[in-house]
Subunit: 345 residues, 2 copies
DNA sequence: ATGAAAGCGCTAACAT
DNA sequence: ATGTTAGCGCTTTCAT
């Protein structure tokens, strides 16, 4: 009847202090490995901690310090391979640096994205890493939160916000050049997706075009395939339609691994062999690339670098850096597996 | 010089109260949509909230209420398709119910798994959903935390802990029966992985064997393929070795989608067509199954059901339910795509 | 080297 | 219907 508050074995700092016959400060000192604590005192307090099974209440600590040691990671969805892999690396690296990750799926919703940068995590996290797809630069700049934030992905760089991405245009150019070096000259781009308001397609298409022009090839608009959506079925339909229309191509540069899978499927259905007749180059180098037959050659963003860079930038901000937006380019490589090869003629 | 604490526009409940000329309680009332607030008062307070841009500090609320509205989700890794998909559904459902998810990757580490059920999240989350792979029933029961917990996956059911899984044995049986119905009689199981200490293989192998016996077929130990690891390369090697040794089989039941991809690759390399010569049935029905060519037939656990059931169980516990461990079986289906077909003879 | 006490911002009795 | 105030458990000056 007296000590009503001790529910479920919850042991508080005060309890340890009482047990050890010292003040809370002293207990706090040993919990934090404060340097100037006499060995015997440390031992005595530690004993009390162990006996009572004391664990600091993190929520209380947070309120007192103002630091949450948590970072929100806002992604469109966590089960799409590219995002899943980004989440994995950010999760691992955050753990290493002493942060926990709260995952937020925006599910391609404009409102959900707005919520992320507006208020969603107020006082909950120290910072947020956000991969927007629906809202643009201006809106992000306008709705700037009090919380440190770093952006991921291809959206154009807001001047006021930190940002990490790979050089999409350069990567597309490199991809096309690789295909060109394999004697491919009719290179299809898969695909310009209807309703895609993101910046990435634009940038990639730019690189695609530049590489072609540089090689003295006039880009053929017919080779920029159209798709009605982002699913594998949409991709299959796009390729199938092109074949149907008699459009000739001997290589395809895909906007992501999923569409590359689509190309593999549609090509096989059409009886065209990969890579003998047509090369296909994926983008993202996800688990899909490793799993397909033949294994997919792909442009491979350095996801580990993306994760560490994002965290570097974010930690700066969390430590008080207030400069204008920084813009980091993460490296990528092109990994050749089984879907690209020199054309024999 | 006077109001030193107002850093970075941080607005507190008290500030709103002062601005509106009311008490904190009244502000709190409107923040929480408390019923008995006069309309004009509500309006006045709301105006102050808007003007000041007030957002409740969630950490403080947590400390006061003792509820964190956060759930830890501890998975081996978040970028393996099956786990990624589970994470997605749990994330979505948790959001719907008003919880946030903290993701914890145990990376197949024993210590990381122990940490999860021991103390890792003390006072940080209201409960944890945990998919163990390294630690067993007994250890879990022994290290039982003060925090509500529900287990996912095939580890044997600890009597004291809630648990959701699919009926692995039955699913394997159904899978084999489907293959049998397609006139396949030499069904390989891919694979018994060396060093795999999890319960799942055991359970699945049991169902595999039962189905065979029921059909009057004596299981051939040679058809239980061995693999040195869990990667696709390991799977390819296992199948290739079997073919090399001249072991005949006309179907393969795979322990997961990754190994099914391996089967597709090894079979193609050996010039054996799928599904004409050999059927392959995957397990998990992940994005890999949708992406391959041919698209993979697979045993498909109802991941949405797993997510909602786990959350149901966990919410019970968080509300104080203290009974013994409950054990829920989630449904599954078998989805036939392009890698299974009746054997023509 | 250790102790006392004032917050951190919010909630929830309890009072009016 | 609205106001007062004592915590929630920890950190952190400021004393000693």
């Amino acid at each position: 009847m007296a000590s009503g508050s001790r529910s479920a074995g919850r042991v508080r700092l005060k309890d340890v202090a009482d047990r050890a016959g010292v003040s809370m400060k002293t207990v706090s000192n040993v919990v934090h490995d404060y340097e100037f604590v006499s060995p015997q005192m440390r031992e005595r307090v530690q004993a009390a901690i162990d006996e009572l099974g004391y664990r600091p209440n993190l929520t209380a600590r947070r309120l007192a310090t103002g630091k949450t040691s948590m970072i929100a990671l806002a992604l469109p969805v966590v089960d799409q391979p590219y995002y899943a892999e980004i989440a994995r690396y950010i999760g691992e690296e955050a753990e290493r640096r002493g942060y926990r990750i709260i995952v937020e799926q925006t599910l391609n919703g404009v409102e959900a994205e707005r919520a992320v940068i507006r208020d969603r995590e107020e006082g909950l996290v120290d910072g947020v890493i956000f991969h927007p797809v629906r809202i643009g630069t201006l809106e992000i700049a306008r709705l700037r939160p009090g919380t440190p934030i770093v952006l991921l992905g291809e959206s154009a760089r807001p001047l006021t916000t930190d940002h990490v991405m790979i050089d999409n245009t350069q990567a597309a150019r490199d991809g096309v050049e690789l295909l060109l070096a394999e004697n491919r000259s009719r290179i299809a781009f898969l695909a310009d997706v209807r309703g895609d308001i993101t910046e990435s397609t634009h940038l990639r298409l730019l690189g695609y075009q530049e590489a072609l022009l540089t090689a003295g090839i006039q880009p053929d608009p017919e080779l920029v395939l159209r798709s009605d959506g982002f699913t594998i079925e949409d991709g299959v339909a796009a390729i199938a339609a092109a074949i149907e229309r008699g459009i000739h191509f001997d290589a395809v540069l895909s906007r992501d691994d999923t569409f590359a899978m689509a190309a593999l499927r549609a090509l096989q259905a059409a009886g065209r062999s990969v890579p003998d007749e047509v090369s296909v180059l994926g983008w993202d180098d996800t688990v899909l690339a490793h799993s397909s037959t033949p294994a997919l050659s792909a442009i491979s963003p350095d996801k580990f670098a993306i994760a560490t860079t994002a965290l570097d930038l974010l930690e700066d901000r969390m430590k008080g850096y207030e400069g204008t937006g920084r813009h980091r380019i993460a490296p990528y490589t092109i990994i050749e597996r089984g879907t690209t090869a020199a054309l024999q003629r």
